[in-house]
């Protein structure tokens, strides 16, 4: 356990808490993206570069795009009613 490990863990705790505290879903997605990146850094620091790469791919590409498009569709349905 070095200072780098501690910092990486602290950033994950911070961004994770921030993700929960943000209430607006669209903003929450952006914060969740930072949380995902923080997790990727954590995996890398703890010696798992392969998992870190998967984490970057999922947290910065797949999840935000799909969630944003779903949000757009849901906002539309609410407008119709």
């Amino acid at each position: 356990m070095t200072a780098l490990h501690v910092v990486a863990l602290a950033v994950v705790a911070l961004t994770g808490t921030a993700t929960v505290l943000v209430r607006d879903p669209a903003r929450q997605l952006v914060v969740a993206g930072f949380f995902g990146l923080a997790l990727a850094v954590l995996f890398f620091v703890f010696g798992a570069p392969d998992v870190a790469l998967s984490q970057i791919a999922v947290a910065t590409v797949a999840v935000p795009v799909m969630a944003l498009l779903t949000l757009a569709r849901m906002a539309d349905r609410e407008n119709d009613e």
């Binding site: 356990m1 790469l53 791919a57 590409v61 795009v65 799909m66 757009a72």
Partner: protein, 248 residues
């Protein structure tokens, strides 16, 4: 009352978490022999330097075959569900209207998107091709490839792609990738003794094609994941475009 109950629950959870963490083996000293033995085993017996890929595509290849088919059926399922909700004509109309709107997008943004497509595709191919050597592989490279295709859309070049019908191509890529994986698994039964057996020559450790069937499976997964993720996001995009068409 609710707050007090919640706080009590959180404190109890924190105590359990601390208790669990103190019982973990210290960092860098795993208890079982598996973690320390798998690295030399992969280099000596399979000639791959990326142990993770060696395990997922060889030692536990059957497991990966299952995951591969899960992704395949997930893409298939979401496509079926979302396509049942719309008619073909309305999507074409919506896409056309979205294309018209896109000319209003700042040229700098479109240029940045267009410039990034090439490097992103290159990175995807690199990550897939070097899966048996360095961290990465079919899944990660596949998602990067899907992101590159998505950039084509974001850069507003969909008009150019309209003629080749990318959806048909993407569907084909997904099916071909999944089929290739299954065929290699069956190849183990035909050319060796059991399904998923590594029946190709292992090559020299550190070279691009080392590891026998591992790079082949890597490429198959790369093609399949690119197809599946692009297909899912395209279907989601179609839904968003329908919304634009109705509100316009």
């Amino acid at each position: 009352m609710r707050r007090a109950l919640g706080l009590a629950g959180l404190v109890a959870l924190a105590a359990l978490a601390v208790w669990a963490v103190t019982g973990l083996p210290s960092f860098g000293h795993p208890r079982g022999p598996y973690a320390t033995d798998s690295v030399p085993a992969m280099v000596q017996e399979r000639h791959v330097s990326n142990t993770v890929v060696g395990i997922t595509f060889d030692l536990r290849g059957i497991d990966t075959l299952g995951e591969e088919l899960i992704l395949f059926s997930a893409a298939l399922g979401s496509t079926l569900l979302l396509r049942a909700q719309r008619r073909e004509g309305r999507v074409e109309e919506a896409a056309q209207r979205a294309d018209e709107q896109r000319t209003r997008m700042p040229p700098s943004l479109r240029a940045a998107g267009a410039y990034l497509v090439g490097p992103a595709l290159m990175l995807a191919v690199y990550v897939i091709a070097h899966g048996n050597l360095t961290p990465g592989g079919g899944f990660q490279g596949g998602v990067i490839g899907a992101a590159a295709l998505l950039l084509v859309y974001a850069a507003g070049q969909m008009v150019a792609l309209e003629h080749v019908r990318p959806v048909a191509l993407v569907e084909l890529a997904e099916a071909v990738g999944a089929a290739a994986f299954v065929l290699v698994a069956i190849g183990g039964m035909v050319f060796a003794t059991v399904a998923m057996a590594n029946f190709l020559g292992f090559g020299t450790t550190g070279s691009l094609l080392s590891g026998g069937t591992i790079p082949v499976l890597n490429a198959a997964v790369g093609v399949e994941v690119t197809g599946a993720v692009t297909l899912i996001i395209t279907e989601f995009l179609d839904q968003a475009l329908l919304r634009e068409a109705r509100s316009a």
